[in-house]
Symmetry: C2
Subunit: 196 residues, 2 copies
DNA sequence: ATAAAAAAATACTAATTAGTATGAAAAAGC
DNA sequence: GCTTTTTCATACTAATTAGTATTTTTTTAT
């Protein structure tokens, strides 16, 4: 990777971490260039504005991560019910990057940036639609294979699962411990089993 | 009401509206005093800091509203299943103050202010705990009356309902229309019926 | 009515913000 | 080599921020 591409990625990664832990609005460019050891000239060479950098984070950091960790595994799934549960459980309890007190990066950005920044909204909506579509697809396959009841509506379930995930992430932030996650996961399992 | 108490409440109400639509961090005190037509001297006479005002909004605006609209009706409920659905449906589709694109005020504040401001976290947690406890109570009553299965765990269901609500609010913000609400509500109904 | 206290008005500060102007160094093309 | 383009560094600006100091007005108590 070229040196220039490296500084750009470095900015995106460090900025993303700061934004994930502190929020977008309260993360200043001065802070970003301080932690990246990159000068302001370099920053504004790579990004015209702070918002352009924000959108780049979504497209170049969040999107690939999501593709790799959520989309691919879900597409490869043979057992949707069990794998949905495992996916959510992994995200809540085991993912080494995500932390209870900081919530879900995508959820945080959605909450903070919509509806005031259309570029953010569009980039985030694209992400979420992708995830949703994958879940719906997985449900339809599950129905074919007789693993899921025929009267289950994929879109409804997808919304339900993702909403629950985003919401419980907010509870986690509020209480700063994973006890709410554990209670939530039990009910999620029960709900998912009801789809069989 | 005394004139002083009136300016205080006026500040709280207007500030709350601004914060609900714009977010806490991006709502400046200058903006608040401009829309309230109150001077900075008056503002800082009533509130030592911006954060103190924020907490006052939670305790003096959000909490009473919640008591009146969610807690009381839920306590009076004879049919938990149906009333849970009606409560969420009302909040999502009919409440005249809440707007799709601005999400849930409590959810927004939780997302934006935790874990960085403990006073906010505590005040918000108190709110949410109250709501949660009321739901749990209602479920237990429902179990007594034979309206809800005995093996249903109240706390799990409460977390599940509230998480779903917070989460779908985020979807609403993202898409800025209530189509996701409608899909979500169908699955909520189906889920709640599964508790019978 | 008047003194005391509460409430509000005005003018300011120091820090931080995103963004710019300009020039220097590094890399690439020939 | 030398030129051109890319990449980065430095020093700045203008606006906005939360909060303060000080004075004036209004209300309350006696």
């Amino acid at each position: 990777m070229s040196k220039a591409a490296n500084t750009r990625l470095n900015i995106l990664h460090k900025a993303f971490e700061l934004i994930y832990t502190k929020g977008y609005q309260t993360t200043s460019i001065d802070e970003i260039i301080a932690t990246t050891q990159v000068t302001k000239g370099a920053f504004y060479y790579h990004f015209k504005t702070k918002d352009e950098m924000g959108v780049a984070i979504i497209e170049e950091i969040l999107k690939p991560t999501m593709q790799e960790h959520f989309i691919k595994p879900t597409e490869a799934s043979q057992n949707p019910i069990e794998d949905f549960y495992n996916m959510i459980s992994y995200l809540l309890l085991d993912d080494p990057f995500l932390q209870v007190k900081y919530g879900c990066p995508v959820g945080n950005l959605t909450q903070e940036m919509t509806p005031w920044n259309n570029k953010f909204s569009e980039a985030l909506a694209e992400l979420v639609d992708l995830w949703k579509a994958t879940i719906i697809n997985s449900i339809e396959k599950g129905k074919e294979y007789g693993l899921i009841r025929k009267d289950v509506v994929g879109e409804q379930v997808a919304f339900f699962i993702l909403s629950g995930y985003w919401g419980i992430r907010n509870f986690g932030k509020l209480q700063n411990d994973n006890s709410s996650y554990l209670v939530y996961l039990k009910e999620l399992k029960s709900y998912l089993n009801g789809l069989k």
